[in-house]
């Protein structure tokens, strides 16, 4: 799995942008307070669906295991990143973190001790997650087993190892705007949320500019594969030519309309989308087919 390209840009941008924009800003203290003024209550069952839609396990569980013990590597020109242990272990995982710590990590990309995370962790899309989904997801994470495997240190050289510099990158590229501004039906709105906020589909399917930011003008139109093998296909309906039903079936069973099967990193994605409801798969498909 490779999300290498963004890295080529962040250091340069970070160095060029004034230091003041680089200070990490965690979530506001009241981010997880509902409209009625009381703390939102997480539902672990609903949270399991958020977990699958957001694909947390694809990165945080090692090959062939279910435990969120980390270990998956992301090779880039600047070094190798390792997904950390996010199991409920108190010493090596997130067992001792508060809900606010966890929400800040996922939504603001800021660690409990106030450092920026690298965008290999797709918090730039999770930033659009609703607060209720965040607390549901956290409740689900807390219901999963602990694993005491220590997280691996990233293997990244100077200046990319200076987390403070990531602030410049975040300042320029993190956006709360939807890419597809107009959604005509509740199904399309749901599909947009699943693709743009939780699914981080674009992280693979959209090309990046020289600074590593997603090129929204070519949204979902395919991209180079950072792992170096071939390209990641366009899933824009102009190129794909599949019906919404074809897409929904693929996200469920892994079969293409001509009964080839899914391959590459998309296998992990289908492992996740196959666990969503039929309605959610149909919503993702409707969104893709309707892309402008």
């Amino acid at each position: 799995m490779g999300y290498g390209r963004w890295i080529s840009g962040f250091g340069v941008v970070g160095l060029g942008v004034a230091f003041f924009v680089t200070a990490p800003a965690p979530l506001p203290d009241d981010a997880l307070i509902g409209a009625d003024g009381t703390a939102l209550i997480g539902d672990p069952i609903a949270g399991e669906m958020v977990f699958h839609a957001a694909g947390c396990a694809s990165c945080h569980s090692a090959e062939g295991t279910d435990a969120l013990a980390g270990g998956k590597s992301f090779v880039s020109d600047f070094g190798t990143f390792y997904a950390p242990n996010i199991s409920t272990d108190v010493d090596h995982g997130i067992g001792a973190w508060s809900d606010h710590d966890l929400a800040s990590a996922m939504i603001a990309g800021v660690s409990p001790n106030g450092a920026h995370y690298y965008p290999a962790f797709p918090y730039t899309t999770y930033s659009k997650m609703t607060p209720q989904d965040a607390v549901d997801l956290i409740a689900h994470l807390r219901s999963l087993p602990a694993d005491a495997t220590p997280s691996r240190d990233h293997d990244v050289g100077f200046p990319f190892n200076i987390r403070r510099l990531l602030g410049g990158w975040k300042f320029l590229f993190a956006s709360d705007d939807w890419v597809v501004a107009d959604v005509a039906t509740p199904e399309l709105e749901r599909g947009r949320y699943l693709v743009e906020a939780l699914g981080h589909c674009a992280e693979c399917h959209t090309p990046r500019n020289a600074l590593g930011a997603l090129n929204t003008g070519d949204w979902m139109r395919g991209a180079a594969n950072p792992s170096g093998d071939g390209t990641i296909p366009s899933v824009h309906s102009d190129d794909l030519g599949w019906s919404a039903q074809d897409i929904a079936i693929y996200l469920d069973s892994g079969f293409t309309p001509d009964f080839d099967t899914v391959g590459g990193e998309m296998v992990d994605v289908v492992d996740n989308t196959s666990q969503l409801s039929d309605e959610d798969r149909a919503a993702i498909a409707a969104y893709l087919v309707a892309l402008p």
Binding site: N225, D229, G230, T231, I232, P233, I249, S253, G254, F255, D258, F259, D260, T261, V262, G263, G264, E265, V267, D268, V270
Partner: protein, 148 residues
């Protein structure tokens, strides 16, 4: 008449060979891709029934499943030849992990045999075996094939 057919046959072979010489495709590559197409064709019949795109027909399902199992039982060593990845969708990783690649083939053989055991029983049994079968294809495509 016979000689005419023979002549046509020779001509076809000659044209085929010329085409082969022109785009330089290793016959081993053609063979393994044809093997995959046989998978896709037969699984298309089973999957079409499973997805309710075509009506369930026990006899037809059994034929497709038997074909699939027969193809999956073939010994594939003669067409996964080292040095033939270039210009194909096969990844060089196949030859770095041949044991694992063979294990994925075994997984496929087993899943196809399991399908052949139940495909003719009823639609629910066929649908039940579909997940493991598709999983056996994508387990190998995940590691060893690049679509584009």
């Amino acid at each position: 008449m016979k000689s005419l057919i023979l002549l046509a046959g020779v001509a076809t072979v000659a044209v085929g060979t010329m085409a082969f010489a022109q785009d330089d495709v290793d016959p081993a590559v053609t063979a393994r891709q044809a093997h995959m197409q046989l998978y896709a064709h037969n699984i298309g019949i089973l999957g079409g029934m499973a997805q309710a795109k075509i009506d369930y027909d026990a006899e037809l399902a059994q034929i497709a499943a038997n074909n699939l199992a027969a193809v999956a039982a073939l010994d594939e060593t003669t067409y996964w030849i080292e040095g033939t990845a270039e210009g194909t969708k096969a990844l060089p990783a196949i030859w770095e992990n041949m044991d694992d690649f063979m294990a994925k083939q075994d997984g496929m053989t087993n899943a196809a045999a399991a399908m052949a055991d139940v495909a003719g029983t009823d639609l629910a049994s066929l649908q039940g075996a579909m997940g493991d079968l598709g999983g056996a294809c994508s387990a190998c495509h995940r590691e060893y094939r690049q679509r584009n």
